[in-house]
Subunit: 265 residues, 2 copies
């Protein structure tokens, strides 16, 4: 199957402009079975105010950006993962979320568990755990940006059977996640697609270098630092079902949970 990323600069507070950018690139990613877009694609990242965060948020079921993604997914017969500034329909709280949409519409969402810096002022921490979605051809989990620095969510997704972790990002710490992501892929024997953004919003510059890593920790594709790029690569997703790192070592079954109780303190 074909997996890939779209590395672009979403436009802060201008959804139409962002959709225009995606539209201009759609021919490049229409053949992907799973394509990953950056974090907070519908809003941009570096809000000037709570008000700006609120007006750019949308409902994950009915919002205009998610509806646009659903139309793309339907037309391309593909799955799309994208970061969304989500406003909860019930309590009107904001979440830094990722949606998974397919040809038949919204499949599910994930809400970022580990908020970075000033995100703590705008978003509620995720409250939906770490869901894994069975797409038939593979099982898919999602993490968002700074989640990468916590080994726990990667491990949990692998334990729940994820073959691929889609990782919409707005990374700013130079090069750190790009070193860590292939190591997480290797330790859990999974595929990872990190779709990072580029560009500058006020005092923040995003670091690009989007990455696709395989279950052996190989980097299959990496984007440039400052330019937009779409990459789609063909992979054998079932490599992620082989958890043997040597003929006698299974990366999950060799764990020693009887010795791991401190992990949930």
């Amino acid at each position: 199957m074909k997996i890939g990323y779209v590395q672009i600069a979403p436009v802060l507070g201008d959804l139409e402009a962002t959709i225009g950018k995606l539209d201009s690139l759609r021919n490049e990613f229409k053949a992907a079975d799973i394509i990953v877009l950056p974090e907070l694609c519908n809003s941009g990242y570096n809000f000037e105010s709570m008000e700006q965060a609120r007006v750019t948020a949308e409902d994950a079921q009915t919002g205009p950006f998610v509806r646009y993604l659903c139309s793309l997914a339907q037309e391309h017969r593909q799955c799309i993962v994208a970061g969304v500034n989500e406003r909860d329909a019930n309590d009107c709280q904001l979440y830094n979320s990722a949606v998974l949409v397919g040809p038949d519409g919204l499949i599910g969402k994930y809400r970022k568990l580990h908020l970075f810096m000033n995100e703590k002022d705008y978003f509620r921490p995720g409250d939906l755990g770490l869901p894994v979605f069975d797409l038939g051809v593979c099982k898919l989990g999602m993490l968002i940006c700074f989640d990468w620095i916590f080994p726990e969510p990667w491990r949990i997704l692998a334990l729940k059977g994820a073959d691929i972790v889609c990782h919409p990002s707005n990374l700013v710490l130079p090069g750190l996640a790009q070193r860590g992501v292939p190591v997480h892929a290797l330790m859990n024997r999974i595929f990872v697609v990190t779709a990072n953004r580029i560009g500058t919003e006020r005092d923040m510059t995003f670091t690009g270098l989007s990455i696709i890593a395989d279950p052996k920790g190989n980097v299959l594709a990496q984007a440039p630092e400052g330019d937009p790029q779409v990459r789609v690569v063909e992979v054998d997703i079932h490599l992620a079902r082989n958890k043997m790192v040597t003929p006698r070592n299974h990366v999950l079954e060799d764990r020693r949970p009887d010795q791991y109780h401190e992990l949930i303190i």
Copy 2:
């Protein structure tokens, strides 16, 4: 304080020869406060038989290699971490262990939790958890070689307050641990000293490239691939007490243990 590694080739089945090698290098590591030696230093690694594994094993309290280490530690007023083929005094089982010795003798030991390949034929899996030893100047934990590929033990040692993880190794998978170790150091904001061995034993070649990593994931020192090397570097061990990866993100307190229950399944 000064921390370092000794990268050598222990001699399979010839403890005297191994001690001779260490003796010839002792001037290079005598100034270290903490020095780390490779895995299974007293025996070598690639046993031809259970018999060879047994005759090269020793008691961690009274064995000749540990007594030699204690004499070095006393003379140099330093702590030494070394891999030891350990025979348990009670049940005569073998463990792939690491000992920590200081100027006053044996401080403690760790038994490898995650056995690699044919080690499963010779050793019992570790049964002493993941101890952390308070040396006054710092808190020290130990992992051994293949343990590196499991994120759980690193995290547990950090949660228990380890400032430094000493990591005696006999690594054979080329370059993988050397990519992973700095990422574990970064994710847990700790120092790591990986003392790998070199040389070939029958069909196994060990990969050298011993490494010292700091809490920001920087590589402070790295040995060559095939040659012996002693490196000792001066570090501010208290950097490991600062767990803030950004002004608003603490790598341990930002964890979401309420969402992590799958980890101990």
